[in-house]
C-alpha cells in the first residue's frame, strides 16, 4: 500500500509542471554557471559570509550582543536551506523510484521498496561526501549550541567562498596541476626536516646554554631556519650544531627557490586560461556576436568595421602576436585553435553567435572550421574565405553560406576601374558608405501601407529617392520582366509603375541616409496608426 502511494507520488512529480519549473529555477539559481540568477545569488552569499565572519570577530569582544545572535540565526537558516536545495537538485529520487518500479514490472518481480531507498540513500551520500558539501556542512555545524567548542571552525565558512568565486578555484587548479612536482618537493623537505631536527637535537640537547630541550624544540628550530625566518631565539652552541645550520641554510635556499619556481610556472601556465575564462565570461553577457577565425589583414579590416558599428565580436587565432595586437586594440580575443570543437563551443557557437567568419590564409583550416561550425550549429551564418579557386566548392560543401575570394574580387575591381573609372568610383562609394548617398532596403511588412500599392503611387521622386528594384520570393511577381534570380529570391530591376507590392517584398532604394530613414519611419508610423482603431 505504502509502496503504491510512493510510486504514485513519483509519477505525479514526474508529470507535474510546477515541480519541473521549480527545480529548473533552483538549478539556475545554484548551479547553472551561465545563468544571471546564479551571479546575483553568489554575490549575495559572499556578502552574507563576510558579514557572518565580521559578527564572529565582534562577538569575541562583545559576548552578550543580541543582534549578532539573530543575524547568526538568519544566516544559518539560509545556509541550511541552501544545503538542502543543493541536495534536492543533486538527486532525483522520484526518477530512481520510477526506474526501479518499471524494472520490477518488466521482470515480473516484487517491487522492493527497501532497495529503492538504499539506492536513493547511496546517491544522497554521494552528495554529502562531495568536497563542497563537506565545506557547507562545516559552515553550518559550529552554530549548533552543544557543539560550541566547534565555534572556532566558523572561520571555515570562508571556505564557502570557493563555491561562489571562480578565481579561488583557479588558484586551486593551478596548484593541482603541479601536484607531482609539489609532492616531490614535499617528500624531499620532509627528509630534510627530519635529518636536520634529529641532528641538531643530537648535538645541542646537552650543550650548555642551548635552547633545545626536546625534539619539538629541534623541529621548531628547523622549520624557522628552513623558512629563512630565523627568529634567533634558539641558536646553535656547538660546532656540530653550527655545521648542521650551515647545511640546512644552503639546502633550504634550494628548497625555497624550487618551490617558488613551481608556483610561478603553475600560474603562468594558468594565466592563459585565466584570460580565456575572462573573455568567455564577458561574451556570456552578449546575446548576439560574431566569431572571427583568423586575425590577418582581412580579419583586422573586418574587426575595424565591426568595432565602428559597435557590433560585438570575438577573435580566435593561433598566433600569439596577432592576439596581442587584437587585445591592444581593445578587442575580445582568444589564442586558440578554432578547428577544435571545444574552443568553438566555449566561444558560444551554439549560444549567442550569429555568424562565424573563417578567413585565415589557409584554405585547409577554413574548410575544417567551416565543417566543424556547421556540424555544431545548423542555423549559423558561415562566411568563408577561399584563397584558391578550386576550394570554393569544397567550402560550400562544408556548409558555408557565402564564400569570398579576396584576389578575385580585387582583380574584378581592377578590371572595372580600367573600363569605367567613374562608374566604379560611384558604386564603390555607395557600397562602402563613403558618400552621403546610400543604398538600403525597405521591407514591405504585413499590414504596411505599402502592401498592395503600385510603385507609381509611392511618389519616390518627391522624396528624392531612386528605386533600383524590388527583391521578392513571391511567385505572383514572376510575370514581370527584368527579373534576376538571386539565391531563392528574384530581383526585379527597374519595375514598371503598375508593379504591385506585396508584403514580404523589399524595396532597394538609393538616396540620402536620412531620406531613406524618414521614408521607413513614415511607413512604419502609418502602419501602426492604421492598426490602432481595430
Amino acid at each position: 500500500m505504502l509502496a503504491k502511494l510512493i510510486v504514485y507520488c513519483a509519477y505525479y512529480l514526474k508529470s507535474a509542471d510546477w515541480y519541473r519549473k521549480a527545480k529548473l529555477f533552483f538549478y539556475d539559481l545554484l548551479e547553472n554557471s551561465h545563468s544571471r540568477k546564479k551571479k546575483y545569488f553568489d554575490a549575495t552569499m559572499i556578502g552574507l559570509l563576510i558579514l557572518s565572519v565580521i559578527f564572529l570577530i565582534y562577538d569575541i569582544e562583545h559576548e552578550d550582543s543580541k543582534m549578532g545572535g539573530y543575524f547568526e540565526l538568519a544566516i544559518l537558516m539560509v545556509f541550511i536551506v541552501e544545503y538542502c536545495l543543493r541536495g534536492w537538485i543533486y538527486s532525483d529520487t522520484y526518477k530512481v523510484i520510477i526506474e526501479e518500479y518499471e524494472k520490477a514490472l518488466y521482470l515480473n518481480l516484487d517491487f522492493n521498496l527497501l532497495g529503492v531507498f538504499r539506492k536513493a540513500f547511496v546517491r544522497d551520500m554521494e552528495y554529502i561526501s562531495s568536497p563542497f558539501a563537506i565545506i557547507d556542512i562545516l559552515a553550518i555545524l559550529p552554530s549548533y549550541r552543544p557543539l560550541a567548542i566547534l565555534r572556532i571552525f566558523i572561520i571555515f565558512r570562508l571556505f564557502k567562498l570557493f563555491r561562489y568565486s571562480n578565481s579561488a578555484k583557479l588558484f586551486a587548479d593551478a596548484l593541482a596541476s603541479k601536484r607531482f612536482e609539489l609532492m616531490t618537493l614535499l617528500i624531499f623537505t620532509c627528509f630534510l626536516v627530519f635529518i636536520a631536527s634529529v641532528s641538531i637535537y643530537m648535538f645541542e640537547y646537552q650543550a650548555l646554554g642551548s635552547g633545545i630541550h626536546n625534539l619539538f624544540d629541534a623541529f621548531y628550530w628547523t622549520i624557522v631556519t628552513l623558512a629563512t625566518v630565523g627568529f634567533g631565539d634558539i641558536t646553535p652552541q656547538t660546532t656540530g650544531g653550527r655545521w648542521v645550520t650551515i647545511f640546512l641554510i644552503l639546502a633550504s635556499l634550494g628548497v625555497l627557490s624550487f618551490f617558488t619556481s613551481i608556483l610561478i610556472a603553475a600560474f603562468s601556465e594558468k594565466m592563459l586560461s585565466v584570460c580565456e575564462t575572462r573573455t568567455y565570461a564577458e561574451l556570456d553577457r552578449y546575446d548576439s556576436f560574431i566569431i572571427i577565425c583568423g586575425f590577418g589583414r582581412v580579419g583586422q579590416e573586418i574587426a575595424r568595421h565591426l568595432h565602428n558599428d559597435r557590433q560585438k565580436f570575438l577573435i580566435i587565432d593561433r598566433v600569439p602576436a596577432r592576439i596581442e595586437l587584437a587585445k591592444k586594440r581593445g578587442y575580445l580575443a582568444i589564442e586558440s585553435d578554432a578547428s577544435n570543437n571545444e574552443v568553438l563551443i566555449n566561444a558560444g557557437i551554439c549560444r549567442g553567435a550569429s555568424a562565424i567568419l573563417c578567413i585565415t590564409g589557409d584554405d585547409v583550416i577554413n574548410v575544417y572550421v567551416t565543417l566543424t561550425s556547421r556540424h555544431l550549429n545548423k542555423n549559423l551564418r558561415i562566411i568563408s574565405r577561399a584563397n584558391r579557386h578550386d576550394n570554393v566548392n569544397k567550402l560550400y560543401q562544408a556548409g558555408a553560406d557565402n564564400v569570398i575570394r579576396p584576389f578575385e574580387i580585387a582583380g574584378l575591381l581592377a578590371a572595372e576601374f580600367v573600363g569605367q573609372p567613374v562608374a566604379f568610383e560611384a558604386i564603390s562609394g555607395i557600397l562602402h558608405n563613403q558618400t552621403e548617398t546610400v543604398m538600403e532596403s525597405v521591407l514591405v511588412s504585413e499590414k504596411s501601407p505599402l502592401d498592395n500599392q503600385q510603385i507609381g503611387q509611392l511618389d519616390l521622386q518627391q522624396r528624392k529617392l531612386t528605386l533600383l528594384g524590388v527583391i521578392s520570393d513571391n511567385p505572383i511577381h514572376l510575370k514581370h520582366k527584368n527579373k534576376y534570380q538571386v539565391k531563392q529570391q528574384h530581383f526585379y530591376f527597374n519595375p514598371e509603375v503598375d508593379f504591385i507590392l506585396r508584403h514580404g517584398d523589399m524595396l532597394v532604394l538609393l538616396g540620402r541616409k536620412y531620406g531613406i530613414d524618414h521614408f521607413r519611419d513614415q511607413v512604419e508610423q502609418r502602419r501602426l496608426f492604421s492598426r490602432k482603431p481595430k
Binding site: 560574431i290 583586422q300 582583380g411 574584378l412 578590371a415 569605367q420 558604386i427 557600397l431
Partner: protein
C-alpha cells in the same frame, strides 16, 4: 583599342585580365619568373620578357608610347613602388593601377605616382562586413553587377551635338524609354565628384558630362548609340 601592360602574373592579375574585353584591350603580361611567364603564355596571353628595373626595357614594350594603362601586380610592395616610379617618370599621362600588400605601402605608391591603389585584403574585409550588415543588397550586386547576370554599370559621356545637350535631367525618362536607371552625373570639368540624380532633377546636361547608368547590356548599347546621334529626339 587600349593597351594594357600587366606586371606580375598571379591569381589577381589573371582575374583582372579575364574580366577585360579582349576586343577592346590589347594586353601584355610581364613576369620575371619564367615559370609564371610560361603559364601566362599557356593561358593564351601575350607575354614579353623584359627586366622591369631597366627604363630601356620599359620603353621597349611601349611605356611612354602606346601603353595607356599599367597594372603593377607584383607580389612585393617594393617592386610595385619601383615600377610605378619608373613608369611615371617615363609617362605623365599613364594610368597606373597598383596592388598593395601592407597598408603602409599605399602612401608610398601614391607618392610614386599611382592613380589607383587596390588593397585586396581591405576590399575583402569590407566585403565581408557588408555581407554581415546588408546581406540582401550585397547579394544583388554579387549576382548582377559583379556576377554573371546581365545587369551592368556603365558610364556614358555626352558628346558634342548630342540631343542630350542642354536637356533637363528630369526629361530623360531613362527608366521608361530604355529600361535603364540613371544613378548619377559627373562633371569632369568641375570636379570628380558624382552628383546623385535624386538631388539634381532640375540640372541641365552639358557636353562632357558623364552619366552613370545601370541596366542590361542591350539597353546600354542602345542608349549609347542614341546619345551619339544628334537627330534623335527625346
Amino acid at each position: 583599342m587600349k593597351n594594357i601592360a600587366v606586371f606580375g602574373y598571379n591569381r589577381l592579375s589573371f582575374e583582372a585580365i579575364s574580366r577585360l574585353d579582349k576586343e577592346l584591350y590589347q594586353i601584355t603580361v610581364i613576369d620575371h619568373d619564367p615559370i609564371k611567364a610560361a603559364l601566362a603564355r599557356e593561358n593564351g596571353f601575350e607575354t614579353a620578357n623584359i627586366d622591369f628595373r631597366s627604363d630601356d626595357d620599359l620603353k621597349l614594350i611601349g611605356i611612354g608610347a602606346h601603353i595607356d594603362t599599367l597594372f603593377c601586380f607584383f607580389d612585393t610592395d617594393s617592386e610595385n613602388v619601383f615600377l610605378t616610379l619608373s613608369a611615371r617618370a617615363l609617362d605623365k599621362e599613364l594610368n597606373i593601377v597598383a596592388i598593395v600588400d601592407s597598408p603602409e605601402s599605399a602612401e608610398k605608391l601614391i607618392a610614386a605616382g599611382a592613380n589607383k591603389i587596390i588593397d585586396p585584403y581591405e576590399i575583402c574585409g569590407r566585403k565581408i562586413h557588408d555581407m554581415l550588415k546588408r546581406p540582401d543588397i550585397n547579394d544583388i550586386f554579387d549576382h548582377t553587377v559583379f556576377g554573371r547576370h546581365d545587369l551592368h554599370l556603365a558610364e556614358v559621356t555626352i558628346p558634342e551635338n548630342s540631343y542630350l545637350e542642354n536637356a533637363h535631367v528630369a526629361q530623360l525618362h531613362l527608366s521608361s524609354q530604355y529600361n535603364l536607371i540613371l544613378i548619377g552625373i559627373v562633371n569632369k570639368q568641375v570636379s570628380e565628384q558624382l552628383h546623385f540624380v535624386v538631388e539634381e532633377f532640375d540640372r541641365r546636361l552639358s557636353v562632357g558630362d558623364i552619366l552613370v547608368i545601370l541596366g542590361p547590356s542591350r539597353e546600354i548599347r542602345a542608349f549609347k548609340k542614341d546619345v551619339e546621334n544628334e537627330f534623335c529626339k527625346i
